[in-house]
Symmetry: C2
Subunit: 110 residues, 2 copies
């Protein structure tokens, strides 16, 4: 039994799933895997996400140490988001997940 963040996990893989489970998290991570983005740029990339959801998902990713939020003390406000080393370490796995997903779809169509 693994205790982490008020949850009990039976398997360490569930921890990673907890980190990336959330309606917009993998999408955010995949965007940030390419480059740094500002808040409103991410909004444009994900028109379906409300402000509340985008902010929530970013905050969780930040608290879990996958994403870094850099605030510039300027007016108007400027905030940049980019992957931490920990977030970067998940990128190959996310790509694998993506390939498996494509394979799965092909398989299900035949």
């Amino acid at each position: 039994m693994i205790k982490f963040k008020k949850y009990d996990y039976q398997c360490a893989s569930e921890i990673i799933l907890g980190l990336i489970s959330g309606k917009w998290k993998v999408l955010i991570l995949s965007h940030l895997s390419n480059q740094t983005f500002r808040y409103n740029e991410l909004q444009k990339l994900m028109p379906g996400a409300t402000q509340k959801m985008l902010t929530m998902q970013l905050r969780e990713l930040e608290n879990d140490g996958l994403v870094i939020r850099k605030v510039y003390a300027v007016a108007p406000p400027k905030v940049e988001y980019f992957l931490s080393p920990l977030g970067l370490s998940l990128v190959p796995m996310l790509n694998t997940l993506c390939e498996l997903g494509s394979d799965y779809l092909k398989n299900k169509q035949t």
Copy 2:
């Protein structure tokens, strides 16, 4: 945009996450990756899961083609669960996920 099972996915990786997201799914998959189990054997392996949840998760895994349910026409009933080729194809990824989870924990403790 990928349409699959009444959901719209922006990234193929979300499909795999949908398949294995569920409180007991990765645990079921990890047990079945080693050997075939009967229903009540799985119950004993996962004391925290209620009958309803165990059945639900197994049915979803079956409907998604990851697990095969084999019913023997005997009395008392006998039902066996084991991984399909599709389910087996996810095992290496699940192991990777497990390693990443362990790494993450170590990192967070320091």
